[in-house]
Subunit: 348 residues, 4 copies
């Protein structure tokens, strides 16, 4: 089989506006187990949206973007359900930016001989395929953006903002998360930015420009994210997967305190995950455990133990059709960083 034989059926991202899950979610709220968790989580997301003082931080880890939820996130940004995004590099660069450049994910099989995929340069994400040669173009585009940016030490947010600016003129697919966030003033943070296709492009940029180049300072990420926490006061976390995004978004409460600011814990928190709680890892740790750390309030929290593709669309469709987001004021947190010189963070 050649590459084309594997890459035939495109992943199509679910459109949560095209169906109304209200009846389903409301029914689920009177059931048990994952159904009730899902309904409670959807209600909590809507509570965050209805709380006019609440900044909503969307955390994304894992491969839900590749697997058909990419448009869900875009719709959340476009419809004012999200104010800040903290994500893995893969979600933002390898998946979202990749599709913005015109490339696609494909339906595949988890029961395949990976050596055969290797021969034709197809990369596998469980039951999903991508063309590795297209991913290299993604790396290369990152390199070019870095070359054009000018020497300096940047937060990942600053760099991703440049990626948004690039897409405004160059995108093949205009409805990417990066571009939507750029246009709506929603900052995107990838605190482990190099751990992605971006890393390859940036390393190449640095090697080719050994004396003066772009650096990505993850301390600055935490600093900027914490400054939003300090300014916002009331915050809610909507987390798909765990990993670094979950941990660092929660950490902003503690970081603010370290800086001498008395801030409240995250008032709302939802996490969708399949991670196990029992190894003590952050990804699967309960939000009650986070309460012991002083990070998350216990009043409004819900874990949903499910693979995101099966429950996230139901939850966001419900919230979309509730339409409380229409009354929300856009926060545009990106603006607080704009007047500043590089290296400074407003507020802290």
């Amino acid at each position: 089989m050649g590459k084309k034989d594997y890459l035939k059926d495109e992943i199509k991202h679910i459109d949560i506006k095209s169906f109304d899950s209200t009846e389903i979610i409301e029914s689920m709220s009177d059931m048990s187990f994952t159904a009730r968790e899902t309904a409670k989580a959807a209600e909590l997301l809507n509570m965050m949206i209805s709380d006019k003082d609440c900044t909503i931080i969307l955390c994304i880890a894992g491969s839900s973007s590749a697997g058909g939820c990419m448009q869900v996130y875009v719709d959340m940004v476009r419809h004012n359900m999200v104010d800040v995004i903290v994500a893995t590099g893969a979600s933002i660069v390898d998946m979202d930016f990749f599709e913005a450049l015109g490339f696609k994910h494909y339906k595949g099989s988890s029961q395949v001989d990976d050596r055969k995929l290797r021969e034709v340069f197809i990369d596998r994400i469980y039951d999903t395929y991508i063309d590795e040669e297209q991913l290299q173009i993604c790396d290369e585009t990152i390199r070019k953006i870095a070359d054009d940016l000018g020497t300096g030490v940047y937060s990942s947010r600053e760099f991703i903002r440049e990626m948004g600016r690039y897409l405004v003129s160059e995108a093949k697919k205009s409805d990417s998360l990066i571009q939507a966030a750029y246009e709506k003033g929603v900052p995107i943070f990838c605190p482990a930015f190099s751990d992605s296709s971006a890393g390859f492009g940036l390393v190449k940029h640095q090697v080719e420009n050994p004396e003066s180049h772009v650096s990505i300072d993850s301390v600055k990420d935490l600093r900027e994210l914490t400054s939003i926490k300090i300014k916002s006061e009331i915050t809610g976390l909507f987390m798909v997967g765990g990993g670094v995004p979950k941990n660092i978004a929660q950490d902003t409460v503690v970081c603010a305190e370290v800086l001498g600011h008395s801030v409240s814990m995250h008032k709302y928190a939802v996490q969708i995950t399949v991670a196990d709680v029992r190894d003590g890892g952050c990804s699967g740790s309960t939000l009650k455990e986070a309460a012991s750390w002083g990070k998350v309030d216990t009043g409004h929290e819900q874990m949903v133990y499910a693979e995101a593709s099966s429950v996230l669309p139901l939850m966001v469709s419900y919230v979309y059709h509730k339409a409380d987001w229409q009354k929300r004021v856009q926060r545009q947190w990106s603006k607080i960083f704009e007047p500043l010189l590089q290296g400074k963070v407003e507020g802290i």
Copy 2:
């Protein structure tokens, strides 16, 4: 209950030298399921050690260090089983550095009211407790090290090396992983360094020194790690947990290729994890899946689906008593970075 009532029983780190698991591992190799996986993984680790050309990269994510495996890692370094470490910030700073400063983890319960823990400033890691006030001293120590380091853009490896230097004179517990690695020339990378207690100290350092300060460049981490891959040629991954360490260590193969170096895939790979494969996340993805990406060779790989505390000590005790590590030459990869000026990476 007061804080002292919760913090009574210290976690004691298992000493894999004090018992010999050879008989158990050999028996397990003739069983099925997790037992056979465990035995195969132990054999693969010993194969890496016996392959005189192989650089062994230990990847650590999750809370195994807090949960009693800290000395396992130290023993691996002290007995020449590991050449490079890639870890989460929490493993290195919140757990290892924390204990090096004289603090402890304590046996707790996962069935506890977290609000009560909050009242007495105890942080919970599943069934394990720590004193949050001691953790703040850890943050503060990081800040001091940053203050002393001098303005610049550093890799996490460079900063952790400074932490090692600090511990040589200041450690309360001399047998920390950071100090052992410092003394043995084993570089430690935390590509998401700010996602830890270190982040708090470093943010405070930057806020107090807004014009000129320490930055941690995660691109430089990937650059340095890739330079080791390029120089080493043959490599093996021994991964406890997944997350950023697993992904970025695997990525060095691709990164080397992006830089125009033709390197081989990781020849050996072992991962211990409880992560689920079915959400497409990197943490739970099989090593066969990594083969489709051209990162891991399919010849010598083994996933062990288990919580690390129950199998890791058996595996390393087996390898320790095999004693093939005694014939291994120390690689001391730290040395390749030493003569260089900050900002340059040797070799690439």
Copy 3:
């Protein structure tokens, strides 16, 4: 807190007729991970329904009936999507029969002190409560039915048929699965019938009637179930959970062969489960593994790794609204057993 304080919010069983999941399932078929599994499984269920020669065997293990899916199963029977049911005793007696007698399940919490529940005789099923005193009435009703039935050795199917007959006149809630199946000629098998509330009633019946009483012969269950397999030829399995129902329904293929009948493997198979594959247990074993045993054909099988409450309603709503079940002829397998004397099984 008294019992009434715990038993306030009733579980309401989801009505898959009240919403149309077609758009969602069709969208999910172009996604990845659990979403695509769910869509494929829904399509397979519809294929079974559209195959006019196919007998559909619904297998139920776990607590989905208690947790809000009870009406889903009733609707499947009422709308001709199911010809045979194989279930755990708990699903049929403790949950379905229990509600038929007028009792309810209640929304509870998984984070509760079970000793307090014990004090007020509330039994917990993860986040769901029931009144133990009501369950005792359920036991007692089983005893009465046994007392009235007359001495003999019965299959669980025969006994459950008597329960259906009882409910026709005595049910408080007429739309139970037992009664619907009774009325539609759908046999229900519980091969581990004593492992439920029924067991308590039947043991009491036997102890009170030591010389001559009702016995439940699980060999007869397998015999009867196999006779359906032999007569039906083409069969499909729709399995919620694993356990004994999954195993014994699969076993009918082998059992038919042992009896000298050459039958085909189950042509279609779907399983929804959260069970792990890696311990070699039947509950989590893949349907491909079942193919090695000659039980399930590999052409049309789908595992869905999810907790049933979150995906089952979507799947069955889709199939309901496809309406292919309207063209299906009722099989009424119960009838083949009716003219027979106790102890004989028609056909084998």
Copy 4:
């Protein structure tokens, strides 16, 4: 590949007497997560053994016997650590009786084309293979035992006792669990006995003897098991896997109460499982949840979330070498059933 190519490497059952895990278990008791759970569970098993009034009920579900733990169970019986066994039919018939007849399990791969296995009649249990033609001999032997037994309604215990008697003269491998239990007076119950290779043999027996034959009454199983609970007063459960054995062993407390006997809850309970708690199924339900049902005391219970092959040998080796079992008096519960006519159960 022919059948012989697949069936080359025999599973060898681990001998917990050949190594001493005391040091490991004691170290694990000072760690966290699964390690500490394992150590606590081992200590609880030893507490049961040291409690001179405690009857120990070993429950076995899943494939641990096939996967290399078969001798662990035999050693528990031979060394007086177990008084009653409740198991799945597969564990007792397809695995233990199968090997007693001289057949073997083989090391295989979970990554295999099951259609190829089908062609050569090899059955797969995750990564383990057996010869289906040998399994048919197992079925056939059950049929012969049934033919010889004489018409009647038996508990599974009674039938398995006949299997033990058969093995005394006919076994190819004398150290089977069935034979050891037979010789030591340890009753074995399989409340879903037909759900195994035994089912095939028994169905054939019934079909060939339609008028008068052996029936297996699962009510009688629960009745007999409950009579032991009533007589024993203090009981401990040691459960590997969940399923019917876990549920029905727990149920004896309630069943005794239904019969008007006031008995105590199971005083000790340990379960090793990989089952998920969140679907409300019995297999994964916590022992605290069982406390709400009045089945298990909360004082001495421990869940171990692990695949049994990796932790069970460590636990039992520890208990073996503690040697407290040497002081234990054999209970020989089988004897209470011996003087009785078929159909009666002593005591209730």
